[in-house]
């Protein structure tokens, strides 16, 4: 097997955070507009998976007219196979807090929240200490911005931004209709910037080193670096910061166990790529002209040839069936029926052609489900069923 050196390891995110005070104090001396332009020129896109341009989001919130605005750091990391946000919050919390405060300065928000998933409650005490020290410094430089931790409580759907806000408002975590988008009407119907933990850390890098250093990494439409959570059949599971735009083939050379059959990119709501398509697939946001481009929140799960893809799909569908909030019918009923359907085909109670019907059901869900959960079930379902049909049937 050819040895590839294509993967560029980078170390922006976890490198020293000791200068956060300097980064904060010099940022709030600049004009908000200049900071926004810096962010826009870096072409940073949201790292939670959806990839919305961060600079534009902050700009929209800054332009919104309202007396109170909010900043939310989304640490409800629930996608199967992702664990990077926990690592960021435990290793470089001050970077996250600083980025939230700078965002507050730019948009005019005075209050920030970290929505921490219930599974990470053990982080709460340390994070509180960091926040206390951070607030102390803010007071010293007479900068008015408060940060509070809000604990989640075991609901995957609350990672969806509007569901998260419903949850903060003391309601069931059911996603809202969009528009209005959070930058217009978010938490308590006020303009709100909500960003993934990793996105915020990247803004710290950009404010510290300038946009160019970030922009120079990655490829067109997918600039900068990304944290990848690597798990499954790999000799070196863990968290790695890599340049965007790498080919999946290079990734598998680096992280595979020599027998990689498929890689699930983007968690249960992402895509499964079989071995024969590794070389055509690149990790980054849509917009590349050739090949398949795969956006991802950073979850990379490797499967070797001992794994049954039926079991993988069964596991994902059970996950979705449980985590669907139940608000809209296509998702609530769709997830149940997909799970029942593949089980029936496997047992021989339904003909193989029934899989076609299920594929059409996922198309319907993609078009009609209210939020990203129901819409993205089609991603893993179709990519697994189409590439490993025989494993679904026999």
């Amino acid at each position: 097997m050819a040895i590839s050196n294509q993967l560029k390891r980078v170390d922006f995110i976890f490198n020293n955070e000791n200068d956060w005070e300097k980064v904060l104090s010099s940022a709030i001396k600049k004009k908000p507009n200049d900071l926004i332009n810096e962010l826009i020129s870096s072409e940073l896109k949201g790292r939670g998976g959806a990839g919305f341009p961060t600079g534009l989001k902050w700009k929209l919130a800054a332009e919104a007219k309202n007396d109170s605005k909010y900043i939310i750091c989304n640490a409800d990391e629930g996608e199967p196979g992702t664990f990077k946000d926990r690592e960021i919050l435990s290793k470089v919390p001050y970077k996250v807090l600083t980025a939230m405060a700078i965002c507050g300065y730019i948009t005019g928000a005075k209050e920030g929240f970290i929505y921490l998933r219930g599974e990470y409650k053990f982080l709460q005490a340390e994070l509180h200490k960091a926040i206390d020290e951070f607030q102390y410094y803010c007071k010293e430089i007479k900068f008015d911005f408060s940060i509070t931790i809000f604990m989640g409580s075991g609901a995957y759907i609350c990672g969806e931004e509007t569901a998260l806000m419903e949850s903060m408002e003391g309601k069931r975590g059911e996603p809202r209709n969009k528009p209005p988008f959070p930058t217009q009407s978010g938490y308590l119907d006020k303009p709100t910037v909500i960003n993934n933990v990793e996105t915020l850390v990247h803004t710290f890098t950009i404010f510290k080193y300038g946009a160019k250093k970030f922009y120079d990494l990655g490829v067109q439409y997918s600039r900068g670096t990304k944290l990848f959570s690597v798990s499954g059949d790999t000799p070196k599971p863990g968290i790695y910061e890599l340049e965007l735009g790498m080919s999946l083939q290079d990734f598998v050379y680096e992280f595979g166990d020599g027998d990689t059959k498929a890689v699930q990119v983007g968690g249960a709501s992402g895509f499964l790529v079989p071995r024969k398509k590794f070389k055509d697939a690149a990790i980054g946001f849509k917009g590349k002209l050739t090949g398949i481009s795969l956006p991802t929140g950073g979850s990379m799960m490797l499967f070797n040839s001992s794994r049954s893809m039926y079991n993988v799909l069964d596991n994902y569908l059970e996950f979705f069936r449980e985590e669907s909030c139940g608000q809209c019918t296509p998702c609530r009923v769709g997830c149940q029926q997909l799970l029942l359907g593949i089980k029936a085909v496997k047992r021989g109670e339904k003909p193989a052609a029934y899989l076609e019907k299920l594929l059409r059901l996922t198309e319907t869900m993609q078009l009609t489900a209210k939020c990203g959960l129901g819409q993205s079930v089609a991603n893993s379902f179709s990519s697994i069923v189409e590439n490993f049909q025989e494993e679904m049937i026999y």
Binding site: F83, E119, G152, S153, S167, G170, K171, L188, S231, N315
Partner: protein
């Protein structure tokens, strides 16, 4: 006054009586009681001044808010794909064997409740489980037996 009732009153004063205070109040009650009883829900509804059905509806949405009595230690073992691939079932069988309970059950002495949960975010150190708020990773049947023995000893000492 009933201790839960005064706890809830205290919490309402601390977190405020707004709808946004609902989740923090419920979680603090669960932290203390391990679950949210019907009585607690009615009391919270009274303090926050919203219908009890709204409290119930919100509480039952979240998987870490139990509405039935549980043991002192809630064991949540991750069943999502990587943990499943890396031997979650053997670990689960070891726990069931040791505690003599099945999934969803509580030991007769009300010490342990056993449950499965979705991705805990420790896929690189699978299989993983939580006991209350503490996380245990890279589990094997031997390791999990040691961990549980440790918990059993705490109980004997008390």
């Amino acid at each position: 006054m009933n201790p839960i009732r005064s706890l809830i009153k205290e919490l309402a004063e601390k977190h405020g009586r707004r709808r946004e205070s609902l989740l923090p109040i419920m979680l603090a009650v669960v932290e203390r009681e391990k679950y949210l009883s019907e009585y607690s829900m009615v009391e919270i509804a009274r303090e926050v001044d919203i219908p009890a059905s709204e409290v119930y509806g919100t509480a039952t949405f979240y998987s870490f808010i139990e509405t039935k009595p549980t043991g002192q230690y809630i064991i949540r073992i991750c069943k999502t794909i990587t943990c499943s691939m890396k031997g979650k079932n053997q670990v689960l069988f070891a726990i069931q064997d040791m505690l003599k309970i099945k999934l969803g059950e509580t030991t007769p002495d009300k010490r342990f409740t056993l449950m499965e949960t979705n991705c805990l975010g420790w896929c690189h150190k699978a299989p993983a489980m939580m006991i209350n708020n503490d996380v245990y990773t890279e589990l094997t049947p031997e390791k999990v037996r040691d961990i549980l023995s440790g918990y059993m000893k705490i109980n004997e000492l008390n």
